[in-house]
Amino acid sequence: MKVVVLGDGSREHTITILLSRSCISPKIYVLSSYRNPGLKKAAEDSGGQLFRCNILSPSEVKGIVDELSPDLIIIGPEEPQFHGVVDTLVDGGYAVFGATRKLAEIEKSKVFMRDLMWRFKIPGRLAFKAFTDVNEAMEYIENAGDVVIKPARQAGGKGVKVIADLQAYLSDIKSEIRREYAKKLISDVMTHYTDIDYKLLIEERVDGVEYTLMTITDGHTVLPLPLVQDHPHAFDNDLGPETGGMGSIQGPGYILPFINQQEYQESIEIIKSTLKALQTVVNDRYVGVLSGQMMLTPIWGPTVIEFYSRFGDPEVVNLLHVLDTDFLDIVEAAVSRKLASIKLKVRDDLVTVAKVVSPKGYPNNRRVAKGHPISVDEGLIRSNGCEVLYAGVELGSDGNLYTTGSRIATILCSGSNYKVVSDVANKCAELIKCIDGWDTFYRSDIGSESLVSERMRLAEAVRDVYTYRRKNNLVSIKVDWIPGRGATIYDYR
């Protein structure tokens, strides 16, 4: 059996390892934009091969796929979906695991996503306004107070600016930053993308505990995976700029220490309702991954921050040690619309911690973070029971590994409790180094007792408020008002 995996990073590396464990032992072919050593090895070990290509080009991808004529194609990242790679392959008659262009709008367009949620009254929605004109956006921002500015289009998770504004004496500096930022966003980010009408999305800001719910679907059945929590801040104690994710924790079982069973169920219901609404609007069948970047908030309890039309990276890495069901079986069942036949088996005796090692300079100054030779002591990492999933690492023509400027690799560790697992992961993260002396960094606090218990305290406080407000019917409406322009009413009921 031949399987093609499309993508570059530690998410795809995880997928190839999951596939290689299948009793069917498929030949894995990877289509990638650079030579990721992990993907290359996984492909070659299975008897397959890694092909470099422009993974965003439907014709280039189809050209290689036609040569291979695989039984199954798995799409890792979101951008090829946005570019219509899935549509072209499906039209070509291939069995593809991944959302088509129109379905992937759920991730690509934040406006489409919020609009859908309001139209179908899906719980966990937030008040928002979308803008094509910068000046209009500015005027709204001036009156909106506590808001989040997002590019209207998914831009690799980058570009979200959360600027809390509850201190009038600091407002003008923040307005200035927001104005500057909105302009920068439009000139830097949004001009690269001509595939969307709206430029900016201004959304109400919420506080709470974030978590990710990944699900696999065949368009009918939704198979929820265990909850995972990502850590977007670059540095320890949740300090520093936003990254693509510096690590994640999972377990024990399907929930997290700070998210309870009911909240998990409600989150699943949100994904199910959204999937149904999405398929109705688009009139297409969703095969692939639909994930919710969720937050437990005082307004709603489980609340949607974003949807992803793919696995989270690094979130999916955590599943490597706890997924006991043959992953290939799951994917095959999804593409052949028989997902209802799958019983998911997850180890509930383990917790898992994933830690990402990044080069100094990531995420804000990737130019200087690029091109450093690295060494990875895989043997020692394995002997500690951990695994390395390669991300922003390229196998150079000289046989050495070089940083691409992005996150280098993810270390996965599992065990019976977070503290022990986190400590071992820290030890292993030290085994990834730049040979030229350039600094690398990782978050030693991910999975630590203090951080996990801090999340528990925060979640408990949020839970106390939202359950109280629900019970007493205090969930009602929000009013937006720009003086001289009239009011907009958002009904949460």
Partner: protein
Amino acid sequence: MTGLIAVLAFDELWKVGKYVYYGLLASQNRGQDRYFAAVSDGEKLNVFEDDLNYLQINGSKLLNSNGHVGIGGTFTSNELHRVKYSYLREGWVEVAVIVDGIVDKDLTTLCRDLIKLMKSGNSLAEAFAEVVKGIHGIYSLICLSNRGELIAYRSTPGLRPLHIGSYGFDLAIVSTESTPISILGGDLKRSVRPGELVCITPEYVKSFTIKDNGRPALCSFEYIYMARPDSILDGIDVYHVRKSLGYQLASKFKHDVDIVVGVPDTALPYAIGFATALNKELDLGFISTGSKLRTAIKEDPKDRLIGIQLKLNPIRCVLSRRRVALVDDSLVRGVTIKNVVQILRNKLGVKEVHVVIGSPKLRFSCPYGMEIPPSDELLSANLDEALSTKYVEADSLTWLSAENVIELFNKYGVNLCLGCFLRSHLIG
């Protein structure tokens, strides 16, 4: 004392001058006379210093300064403020440093040593890790280079507080107390551990353990008087400590009263705890005039008295012809309380005044930088209970015992320095 504040933006879009400015305003409880600030744009340091009273009038230079990282400190004038901060430029390297507490090294020399090491290729953090070996003292310190490197260090055993917070993905904030972090809209993340050096740049946040000897100890006087009641120091709510001590105080109080009033502002949480435990009415006894002044840290006796009288204008209908419990946080020289008692008796015709103090007898000066007068100026070090009661002209005088304080802090599992009450100073 000194209030330290540092703000660093990870994105250079930000100008932090305004943040340092409001950070200084929020640190005035630790020093209300002078300020010093330094802001870096990654290439050079701009330095600001003046009388703190002028900050709101002509602080516009600081407010509008260019730079994504800055530090600041507030100082009292009765310390030689020169020793609390320094700025030095040698060649292409500039360094500014601010200290809360006491160090045995001249700060200009410290800057010079840092610059020397930085010129030979070390980062500010590497240079400090070397220089700190030659510094003895009990202190917290922040330091900024012209390149925008920020470091924060808290010496063992941790008597001077230091906290780290953040504002979203954008700012890191370091502050002596947690309050300035929340005033700046941020979230408190944690306290700096005793012996820990934290260095923050837009590209990394690193922590090093410089010294790790023995159990940490916290300063009891921070909780009793110095810190703002809305601060959380080392995970413990200052307000909760003061209210709990007030509560405990009630069990030592043997008299009957009609009303409980607190001396504003520090003693109010004590009065709330005390009145709650006694099940007596708590009322507002005094209204302040002018800006908030911390009378006990004024050097000149006349200034102190003026401060007291301005902040303690009594409300007649609350106090007149009543039996009053008057709660204060601490008894230093006794001048404040004596003055208040006299006003209550002579001008308002109060029937009885019982003075209740929310801390043990203050008898020793502090060798670790807390500004407590020398022993010969402390009432409890010189007069016994009977004489002290007569001196302040009260009908009774009640203190907490050191055991009360220890018992409370045992619940938090923390070790406390009670040197100013017991002389058993923890460290040499």
